[in-house]
């Protein structure tokens, strides 16, 4: 959990705000736990985004997927994202959880969330986190189709 300081500038995301997990995770259990760790009497809003694996992409059926990352740099990139959000909006806490390794359809891939006093900041920060994660954080997806495999080349 990130501590609340009096000055926005002094707040930084710590390791509890960032998780890279090799294996399944329950996004709603994590959200529940994180909310319980916060002083909710100061927080009016929590916006969260859960991204999961579809069994189709670019018109093809996808059987499974492998998610590769860059140990060390990926964590650093996510921490930078979290800190950027904390500087940019008036938010009380953020959370970024991302899965790596083998993944199957319906599995959760990513969870991002932002807590704030008012909803506008929570929505904006949460949207920023997932948009930036998709364009900046070093993760790569390789899809297994029926008779072939392919690296996803571009995020939408």
């Amino acid at each position: 959990m990130m501590k609340l300081h009096s000055s926005r500038q002094s707040r930084v995301a710590n390791v509890a705000n960032i998780k890279i997990i090799n294996g399944e995770f329950d996004p709603f259990a994590i959200l529940s736990q994180q909310s319980a760790s916060l002083d909710m009497s100061k927080i009016g809003a929590c916006n969260s985004f859960v991204g999961s694996m579809r069994d189709f992409n670019q018109g093809d059926s996808v059987l499974t997927m492998e998610l590769e990352y860059y140990p060390g740099m990926t964590e650093k990139a996510l921490e930078k994202l979290a800190n950027h959000a904390i500087e940019k909006w008036n938010i009380n806490d953020v959370l970024i959880v991302h899965r790596v390794g083998p993944i199957k359809p319906s599995d959760v891939i990513v969870l991002v969330a932002a807590w704030s006093a008012h909803r506008a900041d929570a929505f904006s920060a949460c949207r920023f986190l997932i948009d930036e994660l998709k364009t900046k954080a070093p993760f790569w997806k390789k899809e297994q189709l029926k008779n072939s495999s392919r690296w996803v080349e571009k995020n939408t």
């Binding site: 070093p138 790569w140 690296w151």
Partner: protein
């Protein structure tokens, strides 16, 4: 001087290696390193590079014991 070079995802598969341990001359840029270790692969416009786990320009000069990484556009989330 010594540097570590890492490759990820489709680039790792194309090159056929995940990592190189290199002896290089001083004052080399990241672009110079790419040309030295992978002369058969032209530096792709879409390819990204990182120095010590931070995004940098291809013109950045590398120091001893630095970690350089090359990878394709990211596709997480």
């Amino acid at each position: 001087m010594k540097v570590t070079v890492k490759y990820f995802a489709s680039l790792r598969e194309t090159i056929g290696r995940a990592e190189d341990q290199l002896e290089i001359a001083e004052n080399m840029t990241i672009a110079d390193i790419w040309r030295q270790v992978n002369p058969e692969h032209i530096q792709n416009q879409q390819m990204l590079c990182a120095l010590n786990m931070e995004y940098v320009d291809w013109g950045t000069v590398v120091q001893a014991n630095d970690e350089v990484a090359f990878f394709p556009p990211v596709t997480g989330g």
